[in-house]
Subunit: 644 residues, 2 copies
């Protein structure tokens, strides 16, 4: 892998061919001014390639003379196959030098650690395709077609139970498939839920189709639905796709979806929308892989309790009303085609069980993936979102809770908040002296708004530069063009109108800061309340697992700096990414791991934080950056002291 | 019970109030001339009431003078509450006196013996209704509705497995039923197929509905469908109904139904017809009992393999083609509503398993009812019809076979053959001297044709009077107006045109006799072949069970006389009636008996007689009245010798 050495900071990072220089600098904690998010228009991120060859484009905003010297726009330049030495102009670096001492971005978790967390899994799926050559009937042996098929399935297994089967699809077509195929067929078997349960014949296909054996893992998020198509013969992902949940048109969060479901026809509409989104995933992944939707033999899905209800057409009405009761936690195994999914009529859709109304199958799937229920090490599992879900436990017990953090992390309640989409500020550095920003947006588009990870970066940087105090209030004494009194109170201008996609100034306000503090405070209060309920503290935690798409993008140091994550040894944090999708994928590949899932939901005990006075106390104490009890954040305290 | 004493034969029989005098005489073997079947028009069955009071009507065909002496038409007179002495006029009795010595009609089997055969059954159905008062949810206890329901079901049973349940009907309605009923509901549970299997929740109803608990037992015959509605709380039959199978319009026998099923839309039409017939039974029995169809919690049915296939919409195509392979023997448990039956959407329809293409669930149900698989006594189980089915065995083993007897017993291939309906000759006596007949028809209508039991009576009487020889040929030397050469060869006129419903002569021909001999020969060859295959003979038989509606009407002595039944101790014969319906009824009432059924089908081994050279040999030897080997029919031989 090529190395990129940033001068004058003397910071060297490993890069991959194609990596963007601005992203690399931001990730390594090297400050480079950037106003336009990486769109190539502000021209501020000029750097000098001192050695090596880089791929560039759209450099015409740089004056001809500088270009000839070797200056390029970092945001439009990427690594090729060889090493690079990149000098950030001294003027730009003036006061940023101290960043070098402690890179603020801690992203790399050794692959080894992640493996130790998730463990190995076998290629031994809960469905099986088996090619059978069946003896044709004769007058001496004229047992029925079904019995003949079962005999062939059990051949060589004397103590196997007779498989069960799907009526009526199977029985209607079986005699014709057997005869037209010359008694050579492939049977698709679904293994029993428990070891002692008999297998189930879900389909019979003419000829040998064992080479075509695919499964789909799906994470049904309130906002996004992600799918992974697996070749079950090889245990490999062969296509991936992700789409917005089509229900978004009827409400951004689960509560508004529940409200919509209560309109006449609303439940049916919402079910149709999520099914259509899953069908998009199926169409896209099947096209990529060059297979037919009917080649998919199993769909393993996970979603929160409300998403699971809506997908199955179950009324979520009572989830919203105290005492918050879902219809069921164990979701019934469903024929995908029965709810409108483009699949073979016999194919099953499995949905992970929920634990409670607000701790759903996505969390269970994530816990299942990271196997915290198999280790004696005390683990804190966190999925940050509108409803932050928290699980604490080990191989003996697990308690979990949902805390209503509010929508700040997903852009809600933030003046210029937005979801993680093109043009969202996702990374941010601030020159503490000049107060000029380094803005990185998703897809390097002109900045349009702020997504969750960007918000955390911005608040952490503003706090670090003492532009705001620990209560999230701006330093009124500090005079700067970017600091001003706006329509919603005091604010900091992140990008000027000329650099934004909207053509208007883009800022963060004190109201935004307040909402962020409430959101992170709810999460933190959740950790403390759960730990306290079992007589433990953060020092007992051996591992913190960050799940969820958002979790995968969190900057660890900054999340700790604002008090969203506990200030403990960084080596104990693991990024699991989309743990829900990973759990579904593991279950789809390894039936032994799949069967373990019952253990998971059995071990998880839900705690209703909304009714806990302890939670309320901890919440109040958490409405501070990072916390009113700075003893809980020793490294942050030390850093803030240095800044003074 | 009143006694009726017939003079001058001095035969006394027990009667019930309302019994018809002509029927009583025929049943007791007392000859009374009768040409019009009991319609009251021929006026030949005049008898003198010497003592007691009888109910009469339509006596105006008797001359006034005779009427004043006390003469009545036997066919229009019935027993009241007191004893009767009835004199049959001497002229009519001239040569009939010897009938007295051995009544030809042996119908009464002590109730005790039948009980010993069928055994007792408990009122403990495979479905259960249970009223539950459920704790409403609270914030401290907000488990999902389904889990709450299951907890209430398992209350007090710590080691009970969690019940399974029906999705999606249950989950869609559960939250509303629970809340609208104030958490007081009745759950309908279906017990696990095996002891270790968990129960299944099939429905939840608001309030306490345990008082309304009904089940339907159905026998799905090719010709007739019979149903019995049971109060499952009391184990009592509360309504019965029987209708023709609506499929009859598309063919009289199973083969023509299979042929029809191969037309475009034919299978769907036939399924619709049998479903409509079952719906008629449901409507009729529910109306009688004053309940709603949705109050029926379970339907237990039995039918032959073809009827079972057609009911479930399964193509019977390959049953007709060698090597005669059905799709399945174990019929899947089906939701009745899914195939169009008027029932609660969750209610199950159970169909007895078949053994082979031509030994169906009706036979298994009959064997299940008579429990021959529980007794060490060697038993021969016979169901006579177009396809006669035979089972031989005991508690160790059972073999079974179907013999294609042809349709003679159901009126097919007989010039004036008909099904057992109004106007069919069902009983027949012949004055051996005058060759004048005593004809009894169903419903005492004018004679219209001959049904199976009538045919057996006629042939036995013709043989006994030596009008035909043992090869079924008429004695050409005997001159009588009723014996003549007709269009189809030699024939005997049973009724003259003036006495018949059709207004034409009604006769039995030599072709008819030949067809009857083939039919009974096939049955008898079946018994011998099955017994021989296990190295046994008739003397090893401890019990012969006659099943089926037709079996219930067979005159034992006459059936033996023509060689349809073996000539063994009459005390070993049992009339079981509609054994298939009885089996379904027992299964519906007692889940322990129900669970035993798997044992039944496991023990039964099918033998293909159509391919057996032994069967063909025995068949050829049986084409004689009663048999070429008269050593097999000692009492018949003795009787025939007396006649010479």
């Amino acid at each position: 892998m090529p190395n990129v050495r940033f001068l004058p900071d003397e910071i060297t990072v490993e890069a991959r061919s194609g990596d963007n220089l601005l992203d690399l600098a931001a990730g390594a904690g090297v400050y480079v001014p950037a106003s336009c998010g990486g769109d190539g228009v502000c021209g501020k991120c000029r750097v000098l390639i001192e050695s090596g060859e880089a791929a560039g484009g759209q450099q015409n905003v740089i004056p001809e003379a500088e270009r000839r010297q070797g200056y390029v726009l970092a945001c439009k330049t990427s690594v090729m196959s060889g090493d690079l030495v990149v000098r950030v102009p001294v003027k730009a670096r003036e006061v940023g030098r101290d960043l070098r001492r402690k890179p603020k971005t801690t992203r790399a978790i050794p692959a080894r650690s992640l493996d130790s967390l998730v463990g190995a899994w076998e290629i031994d799926p809960p469905v099986e395709k088996r090619f059978l050559k069946i003896d044709p009937p004769s007058i001496e042996d004229n047992v029925p077609d079904l019995q003949r098929l079962m005999r062939a399935i059990r051949k060589g297994c004397l103590d196997c139970d007779e498989p069960t089967y799907d009526h009526p699809e199977l029985l209607r077509t079986l005699p014709f498939i057997l005869r037209q195929s010359g008694w050579e067929v492939t049977v698709i078997l679904l293994r029993g839920k428990r070891e002692e349960e008999p297998d189930r014949i879900i389909a019979v296909e003419p000829g040998d189709t064992t080479g075509r054996f695919y499964g789909l893992a799906v994470d049904i998020g309130t906002t996004t639905i992600g799918g992974v198509l697996l070749d079950l013969n090889r245990g490999q992902v062969i296509a991936e796709s992700s789409v917005y949940n089509g229900q978004i048109a009827h409400g951004e969060d689960v509560i508004s979806r529940i409200i919509y479901s209560q309109r006449p026809g609303g439940l049916k509409t919402l079910q149709g929308k999520v099914v259509a989104s899953i069908n998009q995933i199926i169409a896209a992944t099947c096209e990529t892989a060059g297979i037919a939707a009917s080649d998919i033999t199993y769909i393993m899905a996970a979603g929160n309790t409300i998403m699971s209800h809506l997908l199955l057409g179950l009324d979520p009405k009572f989830i919203r009303e105290a005492p918050y009761v879902p219809i069921c936690n164990q979701m019934p195994l469903t024929r995908a085609a029965a709810i409108g999914i483009d699949a073979h009529p016999s194919m099953r859709l499995f949905l992970y069980a929920s634990v409670a109304s607000y701790v759903g199958g996505d969390i269970v799937s994530g816990v299942h993936a990271c196997q915290m229920y198999r280790s004696p090490a005390l683990t804190l599992f966190i999925d940050i979102g509108t409803n932050g879900e928290i699980v604490v436990g080990n191989d003996d017990w697990m308690i979990c809770a949902a805390c209503s953090a509010g929508p700040a992390f997903e852009g809600g309640g933030i003046k210029h908040g937005m979801r993680a989409a093109s043009g969202a500020i996702e990374n941010f550095h601030l020159d503490p002296e000049t107060l000029e920003p380094m803005i990185i947006t998703i897809e390097h588009a002109k900045p349009k708004g702020i997504c969750g990870s960007g918000l955390i970066s911005i608040v952490a940087e503003l706090l670090d530069a003492r532009v705001i105090d620990q209560q999230g209030k701006f330093d009124r004494g500090r005079k700067h063009p970017r600091l001003r009194e706006g329509a919603d109170g005091f604010e900091y201008v992140l990008a000027w109108a000329k650099d934004t996609m909207t053509g208007e100034d883009l800022m963060i306000t004190e109201v935004d800061l307040d909402n962020l503090i409430r959101a992170k405070g709810a999460m933190f209060a959740g950790y403390v309340t759960l730990l306290e309920s079992v007589g433990m503290t953060f020092s007992d935690l051996e591992r913190v697992v960050l799940a969820g798409n958002f979790g995968a993008y969190i900057d660890l140091e900054r999340a700790i700096a604002i008090g969203l994550l506990p200030d403990i040894d960084r080596g104990r944090f693991f990024y699991l990414g989309n743990a829900s999708l990973l759990g579904a994928q593991i279950s789809l590949t390894d039936h032994k791991r799949f069967r373990e899932r019952t253990q998971v939901s059995r071990l998880m005990t839900n705690m209703e934080l909304s009714e806990s006075p302890q939670f309320m106390n901890h919440y109040m104490a958490s409405l501070f950056l990072p916390h009113t009890d700075m003893g809980l954040f020793p490294t942050v305290r030390e850093r803030l002291a240095e800044r003074r």
